[in-house]
């Protein structure tokens, strides 16, 4: 059952197209992430679902009903804004109670519901604090509680962790996922951080330049990127141009390699993705791919080694050390080769 469907949505600002006829179905109770670089249209998509921006063309459906002209205050959708947008003149309690106050809910019910929300986001005891007197992580929780109190069907989150430091961000990722599971609300999450997208989501939507490039589970997106952009954006990769002479075979770097892909046209030019962690460092002498080590950077768990050879720069993640300037060879298995149509 789709809770939200976008059909052929287009919009441009000042003649600049921002979304180019995108369509997307969002299932009930899933955690879906719109992922892409800044300016790709992900925030605009979110604002169209929230009702803050009207698309030039296309339709928005909520539970199968068209809601194009419906103003934000009539939608069963709530938003956690970038930098939270907490009301500075209200304390924590009143910020969370805002949605209930609008509907003139009896005081007793307000107290009870705000109390529930505070314990959901682990902020019991903070009722009387002014919103400005909270840390970033606490403001974040208030923003979530405030958005959830109206029991929306869908919660929109616009880079909610962007303003937090790394450690807090990791913590909040887990907590957000928990809140989503416990509340059973559909989360639509916008981020430019691919790692965040992969850890938290049921479904990832990769966007670039106003278009949706790929929709899939985090595993799909990582292992089977549809084109070079997705491959490059999701994790680090070596992307090499090549040709498919036949099924299960690919030519690149002056050699023919065995692979597990099929269904391409004969001699179709393709992009080949090799993940740095799939490459193994071996002796240069008997390697089909070899070159000179240009740089070595220690990354904690592994070294990041850049090797120049066969007309390419290869990024390798290896626990073995290689000295700069020495010769090194590379090895990989057929299933490490990911082949994509030229985009």
């Amino acid at each position: 059952m789709d809770v939200i469907s976008l059909r052929n949505i287009s919009i441009s600002f000042d003649g600049e197209p921002v979304l180019k006829s995108i369509s997307l179905n969002i299932r009930d109770k899933e955690f879906i992430t719109l992922l892409g670089p800044s300016g790709c249209g992900k925030t605009t998509t979110l604002r169209i679902i929230g009702g803050f921006t009207k698309p030039d063309r296309g339709d928005v459906f909520f539970d199968g009903q068209r809601i194009n002209g419906l103003p934000p205050y009539k939608r069963h959708v709530n938003t956690v804004f970038q930098r939270y947008a907490l009301f500075p003149h209200l304390n924590v309690f009143e910020n969370i109670a805002f949605g209930l106050r609008i509907t003139k809910t009896p005081e007793k019910v307000v107290r009870q519901k705000v109390g529930e929300m505070l314990s959901l986001v682990n902020l019991s005891g903070f009722e009387k604090r002014q919103s400005g007197a909270l840390s970033g992580g606490q403001q974040q929780r208030v923003a979530i509680a405030r958005a959830l109190i109206n029991k929306p069907r869908v919660l929109l989150l616009d880079e909610p962790l962007g303003a937090l430091d790394l450690k807090l961000r990791k913590e909040m990722q887990g907590e957000l996922k928990n809140i989503q599971k416990r509340s059973g609300i559909t989360f639509i999450y916008v981020t430019h951080d691919q790692e965040e997208a992969l850890t938290m989501s049921d479904t990832v939507v990769v966007m670039n330049a106003g278009e949706i490039l790929q929709v899939g589970t985090p595993e799909d997106i990582y292992n089977e990127p549809r084109n070079a952009f997705v491959a490059d954006f999701i994790g680090e990769s070596n992307i090499i141009p090549g040709v498919m002479p036949a099924d299960f075979a690919v030519d690149f770097c002056g050699g023919r390699f065995e692979c597990v892909d099929k269904g391409f046209e004969k001699d179709e030019p393709v992009d080949i993705v090799l993940r740095p962690e799939d490459l193994t460092l071996i002796e240069a002498g008997n390697a089909r791919i070899h070159g000179v080590v240009r740089s070595v950077t220690f990354k904690g768990v592994h070294y990041e080694i850049i090797i120049e050879g066969m007309g390419c720069m290869w990024t390798v993640h290896s626990t073995d050390y290689a000295a700069v300037g020495t010769e090194a060879g590379l090895e990989f298995e057929p299933f490490d080769i990911h082949i994509m149509h030229k985009s």
Binding site: G50, P72, Y73, V77, F81, R83, T103, G132, A147, N150
Partner: protein, 282 residues
Amino acid sequence: MAPEKLVRRFWESIRHIKTFIYRFYVWLVLVFFYAPIFVLMVFSFNNSKSRTVWLGFTFDWYLQLFKDETIMHSVYVTLVVAVLAALLSTVLGTAAAIGIAGMGKRQRALIMNVTYIPVLSPEIITGVSIMLLFVWSGLKLGMLTLLLAHISFDVPFVILSVSPKLRQLDPHLFEAALDLGAKPMSAMRKVILPQIWPGVITGMLMAFTLSVDDFVISYFTSGPTSQTLSITIYAMTRKRVSPEINALSTLLFIVVLTLLVIVNLRQSRDNKQPQRKEEDVR
């Protein structure tokens, strides 16, 4: 050791002399600013019509001031016009500032340039041009024209005092209120207005003070029956010279001083607020 000590003492005394000269200069300018005002005030208690010879202490001029019908009527006109102009220009200006904040760059630049015209052009031009409007449209000069003119030069100051408050707002606050179910008007009332309130009040006080203080524009746009205090003062300085003027200046000075202190306290409180919050975090 000794010569070094001497040199240091020499430089220290130079620094002291410098500070002394600086302070002396500041006091000199302040004396220049306040001597005339002080003279006016002292002679408001002088038991004589003379503006320069002291003949003993009296409160007579203050009593006469309150009995003088021309002055009292003009005080009444001034206050009515200033209060109405301040209220109306605050409503007009606050709405305008909110509207301008929602506009595109080009529209905003155009309107702000027009807004700056009365602020930047000489008062006599503003006065004369509005007078021409009334002459041309056949509107009779009086209380109404006075009020219209005052609102016109007050509004820009309200806008310029509210706009910065709006610019400091988180752009998503209004949307957040809508998102939580508030209709646009109630989002305005419950979220935006409380945030910009200090700017609105400061703008209103500014408008009021400017209106009370104005002479030039009132001079060109008021009729014979609607003379403001400034115009009456002007008439008095031209003809009948009476120490009532001195008494009046003293009272006005005290009123203005009080108003200014209030505005300043408000402003410094506004500025301090965010700092206080930061302290709470720690």
